[in-house]
């Protein structure tokens, strides 16, 4: 496991998976993830570190493909909230599956900052977290490991209802049914 430091981004898987789950459907992945320490930008659609994007807005406007961002688990979305609305994709990295900070980041993106584009989980999350992730606003899941995506999508439906308010259901159970 890489040691996380607030000034150091975690390592990403440099192999880009060919497919990911989007809105519950197995979808081809044409986005390239760009690491914090990369020297060059690939062509085509890219996901760049959110801090890089914030600092290089202007240059990125001329990029050959679409530009989305990724944010790490220790980064505070508040620092970037002004200018994210038009981004097509915001990816949230899970350096370890046990690091639950990304759940809060996703909810803040949706509920506080009104972001309506794709929110994609990347990194070390696992299939058995999908139900909760989806509730927090994730609608896309890019696994590092080679797993059966169609089978994994079943975990999106582990429960048919929930007590709490979240992105997928803004009213609590007690106001809907009781």
């Amino acid at each position: 496991m890489p040691q996380l430091h607030s000034d150091l981004n975690s390592e990403l898987n440099s192999e880009q998976p060919k497919q990911y789950l989007k809105d519950g459907i197995v979808t081809d992945n044409h986005w390239q993830l760009v690491e914090a320490n990369s020297e060059t930008l690939p062509s085509g659609d890219i996901l760049v570190p959110i801090a890089y994007w914030q600092a290089n807005h202007q240059q990125l406007a001329g990029h050959s493909g679409k530009v989305g961002v990724w944010i790490d688990s220790h980064e505070e979305i508040e620092a970037f909230s002004d200018s994210i609305a038009a981004l097509p994709v915001i990816a949230i990295n899970f350096p370890k599956f046990a690091d639950g900070r990304g759940f809060s980041t996703a909810r803040l993106l949706c509920e506080r900052y009104g972001y309506i584009g794709e929110i994609r989980a990347i990194g070390q999350f696992m299939r058995d977290q999908l139900f909760m992730m989806q509730r927090c606003g994730f609608n896309a899941f890019q696994f590092d490991s080679d797993i059966d995506l169609a089978a994994a999508s079943k975990s999106l439906n582990d429960f048919s209802d929930s007590y709490q308010v979240a992105v997928d259901q803004p009213e609590p159970l007690f106001k809907r049914h009781r």
């Binding site: 599956f97 639950g100 977290q129 139900f131 909760m132 929930s162 709490q164």
Partner: protein
């Protein structure tokens, strides 16, 4: 008590199926050991030294006789015919087989029970006073609030992967019987000047390696804001709690690093966004949940006549009289009493009961306490709402089953962790120490004369046995590979919670029991009228005790 509706039932049923599938995929090699760990923990399955252990949730310590019978049946079918009551009001099975756990969970779901979030880095079972609803010093019944918190915390989408485990306790009375200041969040029910209910909110308490008494962060939170405020606290903790070092990951460390004032500001700032949002409670929901905690059908009782009858039986039967003294408590409803069944007879690991005893407890509850059973954080069982005219009969039946040891609140009502006999983290054994103390102090007259005394034992600094908050605390320490024990004095879990102070250098197991005797001698010699051990200690201080224990033997 609360009864599931179709939504509550469906959720626990779906959870069983989810875990059944996860277990299957794990056994098929599709889920790694590392990934399966949090999944099984959040379904109560913990793997310890000798075997897996399954922790079953008893929400705020309340069970029906039907549920107790089901636990008895499960322990017979899937385990070795006994279970353990924990210090957080839950139940543990000690020898379940991993492959059978989904079936056990399905059996639990059939009686509206589960093991959801009883382990792992998530929000655990909410605990409270075992005398909720009947205590004479109650401000408001805490149980409806515990149930509201149970539902909010169950499969919470955002807070299943916290930095560390998270425990909430609610206190509804003047006296604290839930150790609520030693929880990650402690909620005290209070009324404001207009008589409206709210919560005094404390955060950052806990035992373990770094024991801390919690800090107040808000004196009055109006009741309808309970859930949005809890969301705010949990979100701040989820985002900023330490995730690099598990020994620094509890919320108490964050609160201390930021200071309680700064922590409170951060929570309030987060809450500004959530306050009055859709999760705000409404009167309909509060009333709906409260309607499950109605009082039973009390009869009007001629108190004077009943009390006279009980007194005359007590005069005839000394053992009954002792039991009345130690194990029976008046409640706010005239003519009724709450009785504690002791799970601490000498020679049994504190908190252990057999399947047969469980069946008997269920029968006693049906006959004497409207079918309800309560578990206590001191690892005993309470039957409330017992008609006083039935006390003698109840005592005889309980006694015949080994459940009427008259030692509640005495030196023999110890909290003791599993220790070196069962736990791989232990520095020293703890159960044999508890047993040696119980055997040493078996003269009941002497034990009664000592009065209220909490003695707690942990086998290592993880503090599962709450040694920091015992009036006398014993901690197992490792000295060059040998088992030694450190004694602490003056801890307390009540409203004036205090952490014990170390008496002096650690002692061998043989010396522990002798030293306890010396401590008690100092107390008896110095006490004023009616003064408890803790009271005497607080008045005269540590030194007199220390001198006696470490005095050179002549």
């Amino acid at each position: 008590m609360y009864n599931y509706d179709q939504y509550d039932q469906k959720l626990v049923d779906e959870r069983v199926e989810q875990y059944r599938d996860q277990t299957k995929r794990y056994l098929d090699g599709q889920i790694s050991e590392e990934e399966f760990l949090p999944l099984r923990l959040q379904n109560g399955l913990y793997v310890q030294r000798l075997a897996p252990m399954l922790r079953i949730a008893v929400p705020y310590g309340l069970m029906s006789s039907r549920q107790v019978r089901k636990i008895a049946a499960i322990s017979r079918t899937y385990d070795k015919g006994y279970v353990h009551f924990t210090t957080r009001q839950n139940i543990q099975l000690n020898w379940p087989v991993l492959e059978e756990v989904p079936d056990i969970l399905a059996e639990l779901a059939s009686v509206e029970m589960h093991a959801i979030q009883t382990s792992g880095n998530c929000i655990r079972n909410t605990t409270t006073d075992q005398f909720a609803g009947v205590a004479d010093d109650e401000i408001e019944d805490p149980r409806p609030w515990c149930e509201i918190i149970r539902q909010w915390s169950t499969v919470h989408p955002e807070f299943a992967f916290l930095p560390r485990k998270f425990k909430i306790a609610v206190c509804g009375s003047e006296e604290d019987r839930a150790a609520f200041l030693l929880h990650d969040i402690g909620l005290q029910l209070v009324k404001n000047e207009s008589g409206e209910t709210g919560f005094h909110v404390y955060v950052g308490g806990g035992l373990g390696r770094t024991p801390v008494i919690s800090s107040s962060i808000r004196e009055f939170l109006p009741k309808e804001h309970l859930l949005t405020y809890l969301d705010a606290i949990l979100r701040v903790y989820n985002r900023y709690g330490n995730r690099d070092n598990k020994y620094k990951a509890r919320i108490k460390i964050l609160v201390r690093a930021w200071t309680p004032a700064v922590f409170a500001e951060r929570v309030e700032a987060e809450w500004e966004h959530l306050k009055n949002g859709p999760a705000t409670l409404n009167g309909t929901e509060i009333e709906r949940v409260k309607s499950f905690f109605t009082l039973p059908d009390y009869q009007t009782v001629d108190s004077a006549a009943v009390n006279a009858e009980v007194q005359s039986l007590a005069a005839e039967h000394k053992a009954f009289s002792r039991w009345l003294d130690r194990n029976v408590r008046d409640q706010k409803q005239q003519g009724y009493a709450s009785i504690t069944l002791s799970l601490k007879p000498a020679g049994v690991a504190p908190g252990d009961v057999t399947d047969r005893q469980l069946d008997i407890i269920a029968d006693l509850a049906d006959r004497f306490s409207f079918g309800e059973i309560r578990t206590t954080h001191n690892q005993n069982i309470v039957l409330a709402d017992v008609h006083k005219s039935t006390l003698f009969e109840l005592w005889q039946l309980a006694k015949a089953s080994g459940l009427a040891t008259p030692n509640i609140g005495t030196i023999n009502d110890m909290i003791c962790c599993p220790g070196g006999d069962y736990c791989s983290l232990a520095n020293a054994k703890s159960i044999p120490v508890a047993e040696a103390i119980q055997r040493k102090f078996d003269d009941l007259d002497y034990v009664y004369d000592l009065g209220d005394l909490e003695l707690n034992i942990s086998g290592c600094m993880n503090a599962c046995g709450h040694h920091h908050i015992g009036h006398i605390g014993i901690l197992g320490v490792d000295k060059k590979g040998e088992e030694w024990y450190q004694i602490q004095l003056g801890g307390s879990a009540n409203k004036n919670a205090a952490l014990g102070k170390v008496l002096g250098r650690s002692l061998s197991r043989d010396a522990v029991v002798d030293s306890i005797e010396k401590l008690l001698d100092v107390y008896v010699e110095n006490r004023l009228d009616q003064e408890s051990f803790l009271g005497t200690y607080q008045r005269i201080g540590l030194d007199k005790f220390k001198e006696r224990v470490y005095a050179p033997t002549s």
